[in-house]
Structures are given as structure tokens and as C-alpha cells.
Amino acid sequence: MAVSTTVKRMRTTLLLLALTTALSTMLTACGASDEAGSSSRERVEASTTERAQEAIPLVSKALGATGAKATARWQSCMAISWRYEAFASLTAAAGDTAAQLDAVRAALTGAGYADDTQVDGHVTATRNDTTVDVQPSPIRGKRIWTVTVQSSCADYDGDDLDRVENDEDRPLDGM
């Protein structure tokens, strides 16, 4: 059936319109809302910072690393939404990578994080809204591992948006 491109586009727009109208009519009663959109920027910074201050030393100890320097800032999620992220790179003691990953995993799960690892050679652990990921990063140097502690991705507006879009590194205290 030959339909002109313009008509197709109009119909598609109308269909999307119909779809969302129908959805919102159906769902008004149940008041669709969700957690991610209602987190405030400051709360996200505070909770992610707290998690990082807890997790990074744990990981550092498990790897036999001496001291960790960590920074934190807002990062984008593929330029569409935003997450707060603490980042540290550590020099681990010499050891077998698999055993070291196990040690890290044990340290984090022991502290109440759930093991959420999906990729070989990583430890990914989550707690509430925070995700911790630990992996060796040989490109950065011998025995160097990286730890990232991230909030989930969400959008912000107004002053908060300015803040997350233009954030700079700041050091993470308590390392």
C-alpha cells in the first residue's frame, strides 16, 4: 500500500499521541511515579560520597594497596542523563588477579553490598542506589586497579542542571 511519506509521518505522530494519551488516561489513577526522578542532587552527592568513603578503603585494604587518592564529580550517562561518581586508582600488592578479585568481592559483600558482577575480571557490587566497580587497569601501570563508585543516572533541571553539567573534580575526603 503506497502511502506518502508526509502522511506516514503525520500518522506516526498521531499514533504516538494516541498511545501516550491512552496510557496516561489508563494510568492516572495509579499515580505513576518512580524513585529515580525524585532524588535531589545534593542527596545523591551525599549518599554516593558516603558509600565511596566506605567502599574505597575496603577495596584498598583487600588489594593490599597503600593509600588511595580519590576524586569525585558529576559525570554524564552518554550525554543524556547524569550520575555522581567517585573515582580512585590504586596500586595493588603483587598477587594473582583472580584471588585479588575474590578478596575484593568478599570485602564488599561482607560490608553489605550485593554482588552484581556481570563482566569477567570485574567486581561489581551494589547497595541501594550505588554501584561499585573494581577492576585491574594495566594501561595505567603495573598493578594499578581502578575503583568507581556511582549513583544511578537521572536528569536534573535549573540550577542543579547547571551544576551537574559544569562540575569539576574535587578530592574525596577521608581516604
Binding site: 502511502v3 504516538l16 498511545l19 494510568l27 505513576a32 554524564s76 552518554m78 543524556i80 561489581t124 537521572a154
Partner: protein, 637 residues
Amino acid sequence: MTTIAVPAWLPREPEPQVQESASAVLTEVRAAATAVSDVAEWARANGAPADFSGNAADAADHAVTAFAADTDAVSVALERGALAIDAFLTQMRQRRNEHDALTERRQRLNGDREDLLQRIETATEDQVEALQADAAALRQRFESYHQDLQAWRDRVEADEDSAIRAFAAVDELAEGLAAAQDSTRADTAALAAELRTLGTDTDAVNTWWSGLSQSQRNALLISDPDLVGNTNGIPTGDRDEANRSGVQRDIEYLLGLQASGEDLSASEQRWLDNAQSIEKAAQQVSDSKWEGLGVNAFVMAYQPHAFGGDGIAAVAYGDPDTADHTAVYVPGIMQDGTYIDENGSQALNLYEETVNSMLSEDPPREGAVSTIAWIGYDSPNFNPESMWPWDLGDSAGDVSHTVTEANAEAGGVALSQFVDGLNSTHTDGDQPHLTVIGHSYGSTTSAYAAAGGMDADSLVLIGSPGASEGVHHASDLNMPAGQVFVGAADNDPVSWLGGEDGVLPGSGDDSLGLGQDPAQNDFGATVFAVDDGEEFHGPGGLVDTGFKQNHVNYFDDTNPALANMADVVSGNAGAVVDTGGRTQEAHDYLYDWTGDEVKDHVVDPIVETYEDVRDGVGDAVDGAKDARDDLWPDRWP
């Protein structure tokens, strides 16, 4: 007692003072030269024409005509200065390499000297003769080192003398004016015209550029940085230098306007955002998160006024002209030049993952990598928040923009030409191993490029709303066999949009026009494992969780998608496991979700609330079911 003459210990030779950071001086001088050159061009256009044959005094008294000569003199002087700095920096880079080699040699020699001294200490009389011979040989090697070191120092001094002379030749007004009159000056207008006629033949562009003298290249880079910086086929390093000076020129101009108390217009503000974003994209290699990678950035494209001010921008991490493995990342909707730094950080993440992946192999694999974030097409400015019906009218134009193929098709052509450029500028003979990764709408653009014959080795489509109109199977994408890879999270609603049939059942051919869902099993691509994201409810969840989380997690360290992409990029595609892909249509995911929504939020609550009224329950449930069936029949279409 015999003495054995051992040469003196070799002291450390200080490193040359001039480091890579000195390139900042070159960028500033070029930026200045370019801006003055622009003013000189204005003055020439508004002054006496070059072939004016009237009263010379008239021309001489005319202010703009005199101004043209004055600014031209400044421009030429700065151009000569830039040339001198460029040559000096190139020489100093070479001297630093030579210094490294000499340092290694010095350390070895000192080590050998220590060995000899120790052997002498414990020597017996009959070993003396042999030790004398060893000492003599060592003395010769030391002498040779001294000579080479002195020769190196002489070379450094000669390079410095050369630069000093070059500056001295144009550090006075009169000298600038004389240089402007020099008949051997590069005719940049003619050169620019020549370059333009070469068009999109990137091999020809590359050959032509190599045939120019350094002085000609330097002059053209200053007179036409926008042309040199954005023409495919020009070597990456030169594009980077041209674009950086263009960016600095623009930033200084716009900040100057602001500083003088003027408010920037909306388009000037966007221009400044574009310039500052690409500057940030280049500088972020020094951020605390990324400095450990030790990678350099190259500004490969900078056209802040393109697409009505949205802007074209591209940044490479690692030099694609010398890389063994190159990836071009094409982001999706809502991306423009002001997001190049954020998209750049995805490219950096991919860079780290790719190199780590190679280093983790047994045995570790060496190889240079380059990852490029490229925003070179007109990406629609779809605002997902405007999915509410009362907003949809406003952004309906943008929505239909999203669903039209035209921009993806045009984008595909631009991408293909960019890739041609990368193939032409790669040194060491071979073309690079090149992977194109398209996300979201960028995947449709990439698919258009591939279907149109783009010369890449591998194609990765992630979070794809469609593999472009007219493509029914992976083989339509003209990639080498087995080199089409797809990542699609089950809970990524953008990946529910693909399909050659309708969005809604019973509605005939009303597909969004972006093509088939490439994650389908029968599409024939290798569908790799990804993090499927979180389930969500309601239109709010669709946007906040579906779009703003599940659609944008493909480059997360925690996501198998990133590890799989790194395998493809590094040429280790054999390690990518095919999960088989989807066996239900993309739209069925949408259908299932809306069906679940209706079930969870309408049918079940009714059942619960009215469960003590049996007939009421029965009627309510039936009524709800009928209502649902009217809108959504049981099967497609």
C-alpha cells in the same frame, strides 16, 4: 702496582627544557595570526583593489587600504613566527627522543663501568692484562658517548639558533611590512581553492597536502583553519592544529565581547558553548580520572555554526593515523557540538577498556588504539520529557524529525566520508582496523553509511531504533562477513521501536521509518550480551528509567556491552559470544509492557477492590478486558 685506567662516571645530562607543553605557544600565535588574517581580509575587501590604476595618493590616503597593508604585515609576521615555532617544536621532539636514547646508553655504560671496577677489585695479577684490554674498550665507548652527547648538544644549539634567527627576522614593524611584500609568499587563496576542488577524494587531498611545503601548509592553516581542520584526507595532526587555533580564536573573540560589557546573542552563546565544549573534550585527557591513560587528544572537526548552530565536532583520543585499531563512536539523538566533551568521555572509557582488554590477553597484545567521538551529522533535538500529550503538540515537529530517515541518510554520507579520510591518512601503508559504533539514532546513521558502502571493518549498533530503511538483513550492510554486532537491552525502550511493520497492531505500514530491529535473531547480526537494565512502570518510568538509564548504560564499566565492544574494536571479535538475539518483534516488547501496565494498574486493582462483589468483579474485569481489547487486539497487526 699496575693501574688500570677506568673512565670517569658519566653524569646525568639534563633534559631539554622544551617539552610537549610548549605547543600551547604555537596554538596562541596561530590563533592570533588567524584572527588578524581575518581582519586583513576584511580590509582588503573594503580597500582599494589590488589592480587599482588610479591616483596612487588616493589609495595611500584611504584609511582602510592602509589598514589592509598594516594588518597584513602583522598577519605575515605572526605566520612566520608560527612557522618558526612549529619547526622548533618538531626539532625539540626529536631531540627529546635522542636524549632518551642517550640516557639509556649512559646508564648502560655506567653499569658496565661498575662491573669493571668490581672485577678489578677482586682481580689477580694474571687477570690484569685482560682487564687492561676491557678498560681500553670501555674508554673508547665512553669517548664515543661523549662525542655523541656533544653532537646532540650542538644540534640543540643549532635548532635554537635557527629559531632565534627566524624570530629576529620578523620582530620589527619594517620587517613585517617587507615580509608582506615578499613575492614567494604562499598564495593561500589559490591553495584554498585548489583544496576545495579536490572535494571528497580523500586520497587526492592527502597526496596534495603532502606535496605542499611546510611554509605553504603553515600559511594555509592560518588563513583557512576551518577548511584545513575539517577536510577529510588532511592528516589528523594538522587538522588538530588548525582546529585548536580556530577554537582559541573563537573563544578569545567571544569572551572579548562579553568582557566589553556586551551581552552575547543566543547564537553567539551557543557558538561559545560549542567552542568551550571541544576545548574541554581535548583537555579532559588531563582530568584526574583520565590522566593515568597517558593519551593525547586530537580535535578532528570543529564547525560551530553547522546545522543552525548545533555544531559539528569530533575528538580523537590516540592518533588514528598511527593506530592499529580505531573506533568511531556516533552518538544518538539530542547530541550536538555542545556535548562533545561528554561523548568524548565515552570514547575515553572505550579506549581504556580496549587497551586493557588487549593487555589482559595471554600473552598480552601490544597495539596502538584510537577512539573517536564524532558528532558530524544533524541529530534531532528530541526532548523525551515532551512525551506527555499536552507537550507532544509542541515537540511534534521534533518527534517527526526523529522518525524521519532523511537526516540519518545525510548523516550516513558524512560518516562515510569521515571514515574515508581516516583510511587515507593512515600512515604505514595499511588501512587501520576500523570499527564504527552507533548508539541510538546514531546507529541508524551508521547503518545508512554501511549500506551505502562505508569502508569500515566492523559495525556495532547499540540501543538501535532501526538499522535504516531498506535494510532487511545484516548482509544488506555491506560489512565483511560476521562483522555486524548488536547490543540491545531488553528494557531499553528505544530498542523497541525498530520494525518494518507498524508500531501498533492493526495499523498497517506505519513504522517509524528507521528500519528493522537489528537485534532480531533473523536479522543475522551477532547479538552480544548486555545489561538488560531495570524494569519500569508508567510513562514516568519509561522516560526516567527506560530512556535515561537503560538506554544509556552501554558504556558502563559494569556492562558486558563495553567488554564486547572492546573485543570488536581490538580485533578480537572471535571472543564475542552470540546470544542469538530476539525471537519476538521489537514492538512486541512495547506491547508486552503496555499490556502489563494495563494488567497491573487497571485490571488487578479492580479485581482486588471489588473482590467481595462477585458479579461486580466479573463485570469489572470483563469491562476492563473489553476496553483493553478495543485498543490493543490480541495479536499484531
